[in-house]
Symmetry: C2
Subunit: 304 residues, 2 copies
DNA sequence: AAATTGTTTTTTCACGATAAAAGACATTAC
DNA sequence: GTAATGTCTTTTATCGTGAAAAAACAATTT
């Protein structure tokens, strides 16, 4: 099957939004920059838009003829990257299904089950291995380490080290640094969400990620910044399968964020540390509370 | 060409060492365990040994007929893993050649130059990306970030955080923990090397790695333990192309290690921290001294 | 002349295929 | 009856291939 054209389809859907808003589309290179794809893909999109009667395309002239209907869009399933498909499948097995530690992963079988080639699955597993949940035996299978209490503790330990350091670095940023403006923006978004917490309390996790990434970036350390990928991945999937008490959790986290932001703006290192510690502590508790295998931790940890 | 039989060749060479030392070889499963390969490979090895007249093989009986000659061994080039070949090639370009930051990596071209398939190279790059030296543009090329002063500073920053924490954890290990015995063993090896520093001063880096890995393991944190891979990789290649002042460096490091070991054995946290800090500081200086682009650091760091 | 469009070349992504290596099962030897 | 050997099956490592997407180059247009 070689390669799916999801890049084209996904960009096409986004291009439809542009069609909704304008009478005539900009030049090909401009569209490419706007959609984040190459001109080759832009031209494929324009060609189809002409075919379906959405636009009239003649060289520089790209006039919108009609508003896009619902059926003009490609279905969501077709716009996903292969690695996104694999990732979702894999995480579902890992978190939802009964994936015990020590279980081994069969590339061929798993690729067949998900319906992808072995190469793609292999590449996913290699990329995924940095999250510390799987390990490769040379010339042999992968071993699942399991989403255990020990894992959560190790993850949060690093997170706390990194975030405390990043927060301290944030305080030291000169006043002119754009990060301060970003922080102000995030504060506003927090207040807006606080006011509307009843309706859109699920929007929090996206805001949460942006806030923590901003703090981590202040460290100016690629290893710290990159490590947030691990945290984001875990929290993302974790919350997707664990909705109990979500609203309560988010309300608490939101107010902790606001205190944390206020502390950062005060530039008082002691206050920042306290606010950061408090928030991380409750994040840790939330994560731990959701892991079934209690008592397992000591065993895992002392097994060297 | 599908797959090279380097596993077989490498295991064969190691099996020759056993032939040198024994009159008759053990059972197939035992040999497999000894060489770390499957019985399939063991049997292939035995088959060849019989063919070349090294042994007489009849079911359980595997009698050694003659001592292996030099020409019985497979040449070293043939025993390397593909990923080792790729790694060496890549690191040579990165450290020795003029690999400026921002330069882009072409999978196809590089694969051709090294003489491997694109899949293998891709997988290597994905694995390598966690070292923070390259970055992928989606649906496009990889970008080289360069082995810059900024990189070295970011790397050592994390290293120091992790090692200080691990060393502190080491102090708290109960007296019965096998790590203490391992530490004693390493101390002996250090003393032996100290006595013979004149002859085998290049053997230090291997000892260095084992020592630091032992310390890191005390953290009981997979992210800390895994991070040492990054450090080991950098130091390994770095020293391979930078032999100036090696002996002096190693002599200093050796005595610092001994002080560090003594501190750990004293279990005095303050003393451990001091010894650890001192050693890490000189390791950092050594690394920084070897990077050509001075003054670059500020520019890199403040570029957000 | 600079930017845009038209055309061609290259590169990435993903697959199936194949030999090496591992693993499973059946048989024999002690 | 346990542990070895003999045989067969499955899985991994690697490549070549082909379509999607990017990038480079050439020809227009304003």
């Amino acid at each position: 099957m070689s390669k799916s054209n999801n890049v084209y389809k996904e960009a096409y859907n986004r291009a439809l939004r542009l069609v909704e808003e304008t009478r005539r589309l900009p030049s090909e290179p401009e569209l490419g920059a706007l959609l984040g794809v190459s001109r080759t893909t832009v031209r494929a999109i324009l060609a189809r838009m002409e075919e379906t009667g959405l636009i009239l395309w003649n060289k520089r002239d790209k006039t919108v003829l009609r508003a896009p209907q619902h059926r003009d869009f490609f279905p969501d399933e077709e716009t996903d990257t292969l690695s996104q498909i694999i990732e979702r499948n894999f995480m579902r097995r890992l978190l939802a299904g009964g994936a015990e530690a020590g279980m081994q992963i069969n590339e061929l079988e798993m690729a067949r089950e998900i319906g992808v080639g072995t190469t793609s699955l292999r590449e996913f597993l290699i990329r995924f291995s940095r999250f510390g949940l799987i390990e490769k035996r040379r010339n042999s299978h992968w071993v699942l380490k399991g989403f255990t209490r020990a894992f959560a503790l190790e993850l949060t330990e690093i997170r706390e080290m990194f975030e405390l350091r990043s927060a301290a670095a944030f305080c030291r940023l000169p006043p002119g640094n754009p990060a301060w403006a970003e922080l102000d923006g995030l504060e506003v978004e927090h207040r807006e969400l606080e006011a509307a917490i009843a309706e859109r309390f699920t929007a929090f996790s996206e805001l949460d990620e942006r806030f923590h990434r901003l703090v981590h970036r202040a460290s100016h350390n690629r290893f710290i910044v990159d490590f947030y990928d691990v945290i984001a991945m875990i929290f993302h999937y974790h919350y997707q399968w664990n909705k109990v008490g979500e609203r309560q959790r988010n309300t608490v986290a939101l107010s902790e964020h606001l205190a944390y932001i206020a502390a950062l703006k005060s530039r008082d290192p002691a206050r920042v540390e306290a606010a950061c510690r408090k928030h991380l502590e409750s994040a840790r508790q939330t994560l731990l509370a959701s892991i079934p295998d209690c008592g397992q931790a000591e065993a895992d940890n002392s097994a060297k």
